[in-house]
C-alpha cells in the first residue's frame, strides 16, 4: 500500500469511527489546507488522480464550510448556473457513491430502510437519503433537480427539502422530452425563472458579465475534455489508477469553474505524455523496455499493446472494493472510454446563457428516447474502435436497465458484444462478487475468440 492509499485508509477509518458531520467538516478543513493538500497531492500516482482529489476535496470543503449558500443538485444539471449565482453545489447522488467507497453504505442504507425506503429502490438515492437523515450532509439552502435520466432524485430531494423546511426553495426543472427550438425556449424560460427566484431569495442579482465569464470557463473545460477524449481514441497505456468513472463530480458539478478547466488540461497533458510513451513502445524505442516501470506503471510490450482489447463502459461502476478492473487489466482489456465521459453538448453561447444551458441539458443522450443514447453509443463505438461493451446494470436503475435489451441488440447489429453485468454500485451485499467474476470471465472468453 502506497502513502496515498495509507492516508486515504486512515481518513476513512477516522470518518467511520467518528461518523458525524462536524468530524467530516474538520477533516475536510485539515486536508484542504494548502500545504497539506499539496503534500497529499504529491503522493498520488498520477497527476489526473491528484487534481481530481484536490478539486473534489475543495468543493466538498466549501459546501461543508457553510460560508456560502449551498444547493443540493441532481446529477445532470447545468452547474454553471450554481457557480454564476455564487452557490456551492453539493451532489447527494455522487456523494452517496462515496458512502460505498468509504464503507459507510451499510449504515446509510440501514437508516434509509428504517424510514421506509424499500430495498427495491436505487442504492445511490437510498444511501444519500440515509446520510441526510443521519445528518452527515451539509444543510442546504436550496434544492434543485431535473427529470433527466431518473425519477428517484426528484422524490428523495423533495423529502430532503421537507426535512430542512425549504420546500419553497425546491425546484424541479422540467426538461422537455424532445429537443426542439420550442423545447429550448421552454427550458430556458424555466432556468431564467428559477435563477431569478434564487437570486431574489439570496437578496442579489445575477451579474450577466460574471455569468458570461462562467460560461466561458465552461467552454474552456469542454475544449480540454474533448481534447482528452480525442487522445483516448488512440491511448492504451494509461497512468496508474486512472479510471474515467471517477471524474463524475468535476465533469458535472464543477462545470463552469477554473478548477474543471485546469483538471482536464492536466489530464490532457498527462495522457499525452503516456501516448508518447505508447508510441515509443510501438516504434521500438529502447528507452521504454517492456517490464520496466514508467511513473508507477509497468511498461507493456509492443505486442501486448497491439493485442489489447478495447472496452466501452456504460453506466457506472461499483464504488466499493472489487476486482472487475483488475480482472480486465490482467486479461489485457482496457476501458478506452466511458459513456459518462462523453461531451455531448455544443459550445455554449455566453451571450445567451440560459438558452445555452437549455441546449446543454437537452443534448444529453440520456434525456428523451433511448434512440438518443443508442446513437451516442454507436458513435462512440465507431470512434474508439471498441471490441466489446460492458453495461453495469446497477440495481434499481430502471432508466438504464430498462433499455439494456435495445442497447444489446443495437450493438449486436454492428457485431459488438455487450455484457450486461447485474450488480449494485454501492451495496456490496447486493452484488455477488463470484457471479460478477464468472460472467466477466465468460465475456472475456467470448471476445477473445472473436479476434
Amino acid at each position: 500500500m502506497g502513502i496515498a492509499d495509507k492516508i486515504k485508509e486512515g481518513l476513512k477509518t477516522n470518518i467511520r469511527n467518528n461518523l458525524d458531520k462536524e468530524n467530516i467538516k474538520k477533516i475536510l478543513n485539515v486536508i484542504s489546507a494548502g500545504p497539506v493538500l499539496s503534500a497529499c497531492g504529491a503522493t498520488f500516482a498520477s497527476k489526473s488522480d491528484k487534481y481530481l482529489n484536490i478539486y473534489s476535496i475543495k468543493s466538498l470543503q466549501r459546501a461543508y464550510s457553510r460560508k456560502y449558500p449551498v444547493a443540493y443538485g441532481s446529477l445532470f444539471l447545468p452547474y454553471e448556473l450554481f457557480h454564476a449565482l455564487g452557490i456551492s453545489p453539493f451532489l447527494p447522488e455522487v456523494i452517496g457513491g462515496f458512502t460505498g467507497g468509504m464503507g459507510l453504505a451499510d449504515r446509510t442504507l440501514k437508516e434509509a430502510a428504517s424510514r421506509w425506503y424499500t430495498p427495491d429502490l436505487c442504492t445511490f438515492h437510498r444511501s444519500a437519503s440515509g446520510a441526510v437523515e443521519m445528518g452527515l450532509f451539509p444543510e442546504p439552502d436550496f434544492i434543485i433537480c431535473a427529470n433527466v435520466a431518473c425519477d428517484a432524485a426528484q422524490k428523495t430531494f423533495y423529502i430532503d427539502a421537507k426535512k430542512f423546511g425549504i420546500e419553497d426553495k425546491y425546484y424541479l426543472i422540467d426538461v422537455p422530452y424532445k429537443n426542439s427550438p420550442k423545447a429550448v425556449s421552454l427550458l430556458a424560460m424555466q432556468l431564467e425563472s428559477i435563477s431569478s427566484d434564487i437570486a431574489a431569495k439570496l437578496g442579489k442579482k445575477l451579474d450577466p458579465d460574471y455569468f458570461a465569464a462562467i460560461i466561458n470557463c465552461s467552454n474552456e473545460f469542454r475544449d480540454w475534455a474533448i481534447k482528452v477524449n480525442d487522445l483516448r481514441k488512440e491511448l492504451l497505456f494509461y497512468p496508474k489508477n486512472f479510471n474515467g468513472l471517477n471524474f463524475i463530480l468535476p465533469f458535472h458539478g464543477l462545470a463552469g469553474t477554473k478548477e474543471a478547466a485546469n483538471l482536464y488540461k492536466n489530464i490532457y497533458l498527462e495522457l499525452k505524455e503516456f501516448l508518447e510513451v505508447q508510441n515509443g513502445i510501438i516504434s521500438g524505442n529502447k528507452k521504454y523496455k517492456a517490464g520496466n516501470v514508467y511513473k508507477g506503471k509497468t511498461i507493456p510490450s509492443a505486442q501486448k499493446l497491439k493485442d489489447t482489447r478495447k472496452i466501452l463502459w456504460m453506466h457506472l461502476k461499483p464504488y466499493y472494493k472489487n476486482n472487475l478492473f483488475t480482472m480486465l487489466e490482467e486479461n489485457n482489456y482496457t476501458v478506452v472510454f466511458e459513456e459518462i465521459s462523453n461531451v455531448y453538448w455544443p459550445r455554449l453561447d455566453p451571450e445567451k446563457p440560459f438558452e445555452a444551458l437549455a441546449i446543454k441539458m437537452l443534448s444529453n443522450p440520456l434525456n428523451g428516447s433511448i434512440e438518443n443514447r443508442v446513437n451516442a453509443i454507436l458513435k462512440i463505438a465507431a470512434e474508439y474502435g471498441i471490441d466489446g461493451a460492458i453495461l453495469f446494470a446497477h440495481w434499481g436503475c430502471r432508466h438504464s436497465n430498462g433499455g439494456a435489451r435495445i442497447l444489446k441488440d443495437s450493438l449486436k447489429n454492428i457485431d459488438i458484444p455487450l455484457l450486461i453485468l447485474d450488480g449494485d454500485c454501492l451495496n456490496k451485499n447486493n452484488s455477488s462478487e463470484g457471479q460478477l467474476s464468472t460472467r466477466l470471465q465468460g465475456f472475456i472468453e467470448i471476445v477473445d475468440c472473436r479476434v
Binding site: Y117, I159, D174, Y177, L186, S369, I370, G396, N401, G402
Partner: protein, 373 residues
C-alpha cells in the same frame, strides 16, 4: 356482496379503431375528437415474452402491458405513452423497437403546475393531434373537440356519481364490481359505456349488506394502477369499507370535471388567442390540475390532498398499495407515512406484483390491520 355486470353494452368500436393509452394524464378528448376510441391498456396478460425485454426488477404492470401489446398489437391503431416514469419511457422505447408496426407516441407531460408547464403541455397536445392525424385520424375542428370534451365530462360526472354511491353505500356496489366498472370505463367505447352507466345508476340501489349499521373503520386506499380482482374481492370478503380513494384507476382518472377556480389566472396568462388553442389549454389545465399522481413535482400538494380527504371522510387507516418497483409511488411513501404518523392515522403498506398477487398473505395482513384500527 358484489353485483354482477350482466348488461354489457353493445360493442361500439368506432370506424377508425382503437388508440391505446396508459396514463390518466392522457386526454381522451383528443383521441375521441380525432375519430378514435380511447382504450386503456390494462396489462391483462401475465408477463412471459415481455420478460425478455425488461430486467427482473422492473414494473410488473408495464411487463404485462407489453405482453398485451405483443399479443394483440393489431387491435390498436396506435398507442399514446406518457413520460410518467422511467419505466414508461423504456416501455415506449421497447414497444417502438420490438413492435415496430404499431404507431407509438410519447406525450410529454410536465411535472410542474404553472404557466410554463401549461404552455409545455399544450405544445405536446398539438403534437399528439398531429400523430393521431398521421395514424389515420381526423383533423378535428372546434365542434369535434367541444363534442369530445362534453362526452368525457359526462363520463367523468357519471363516474363521480358512481364513486359517491360506492362511498355512501359500498355494499350496494361491491368493491370488486366497482373497480371492474371503472376498468370498463377506461377500456370500452365511451358512448356505449355512458349509456350503460347511466342505466346502472338509474337502476334500483341494492343494499346487499345484511347489517344496516353505519360504516365503521373506513379506510382510504392510495396507490397506483391496481386492478387485481382477487385483491378487491378480499376487501369485499372482509367487509372493509373504503371511505376514500386515491388511485390511478379511480379518482385520479375521473376527478376534476370542471376547472378549479384557482387556475383561472393561469389560463388568462397563457395568451392563447384562437378558440381551438383555448380549448387545448383548457384540457391541459384540467389534466395538470386534476388530483395529482406521485410523479408530479409538488409532493407537498399531494400530501395536502390526501390529508384533506382523510379529515373529510374521518379515515381510520390508510391502505397504501404500490406496484412493485414503482419508484414514484415507493418514494412517496416515506413522506406520506411521516404525515400519517403526525395525524395519528395508521397505515398498511402492501406491494403488489401485477397479475401475481399473494392473496392469502394480503388477506391476513389486511385482516390484522382492520382489527387494529
Amino acid at each position: 356482496m358484489e353485483q354482477a355486470i350482466d348488461d354489457k353494452p353493445a360493442s361500439g368500436i368506432t370506424i377508425k379503431g382503437k388508440i391505446g393509452w396508459l396514463c390518466t394524464y392522457t386526454p381522451e378528448e383528443i383521441i375521441i375528437a380525432s375519430g378514435f376510441q380511447p382504450s386503456r391498456i390494462t396489462g391483462n396478460l401475465k408477463a412471459f415474452r415481455s420478460e425478455g425485454y425488461f430486467p427482473i426488477n422492473f414494473c410488473p404492470f408495464i411487463k404485462s402491458s407489453m405482453e398485451d401489446l405483443l399479443a394483440a398489437a393489431s387491435d390498436f391503431k396506435g398507442v399514446i405513452f406518457t413520460n410518467s416514469c422511467d419505466g414508461m419511457r423504456r416501455f415506449y422505447d421497447n414497444c417502438r423497437a420490438y413492435i415496430p408496426d404499431l404507431p407509438a407516441f410519447m406525450l410529454d407531460v410536465p411535472h410542474n403546475k404553472n404557466s410554463i408547464a401549461i404552455e409545455h403541455f399544450v405544445s405536446s397536445l398539438k403534437e399528439m393531434l398531429i400523430f393521431l392525424e398521421e395514424t389515420g385520424g381526423n383533423k378535428p375542428g372546434i365542434a369535434e373537440l367541444e363534442d369530445a370534451i362534453r362526452i368525457c365530462s359526462e363520463k367523468r360526472m357519471l363516474l363521480k356519481k358512481l364513486s359517491n354511491r360506492f362511498r355512501d353505500n359500498q355494499a350496494s356496489v361491491g368493491v370488486r364490481n366497482y373497480y371492474n366498472i371503472l376498468e370498463r370505463s377506461m377500456t370500452e367505447d365511451t358512448s356505449a359505456f355512458i349509456k350503460y352507466l347511466r342505466g346502472y345508476l338509474d337502476g334500483p340501489v341494492q343494499d346487499l349488506k345484511s347489517s344496516k349499521e353505519p360504516a365503521l373503520n373506513g379506510v382510504m386506499v392510495i396507490g397506483n394502477y391496481i386492478n387485481e380482482d382477487r385483491l378487491w374481492s378480499i376487501f369485499d370478503e372482509l367487509e372493509c369499507t373504503i371511505a376514500a380513494e386515491d388511485m390511478c384507476n379511480s379518482s385520479r382518472y375521473f376527478e376534476n370535471i370542471t376547472l378549479p377556480s384557482s387556475t383561472a389566472g393561469i389560463i388568462e396568462r397563457s395568451g392563447e388567442k384562437d378558440s381551438f388553442s383555448v380549448l387545448l389549454t383548457d384540457i391541459a389545465v384540467r389534466q395538470l390540475y386534476k388530483p395529482q399522481c406521485m410523479r408530479m413535482a409538488d409532493l407537498g400538494a399531494k400530501i395536502s390532498e390526501i390529508a384533506k380527504n382523510i379529515e373529510k371522510h374521518g379515515i381510520k387507516g390508510v391502505v397504501f398499495l404500490s406496484q412493485k418497483f414503482c419508484d414514484n409511488t415507493l418514494l412517496f411513501y416515506p413522506l406520506l407515512r411521516e404525515k400519517l404518523a403526525a395525524m395519528n392515522v395508521p397505515s398498511l403498506f402492501i406491494e403488489i406484483e401485477h397479475n401475481n398477487i399473494s392473496a392469502g398473505q394480503i388477506k391476513t395482513r389486511l385482516q390484522a390491520f382492520l382489527e387494529i384500527i
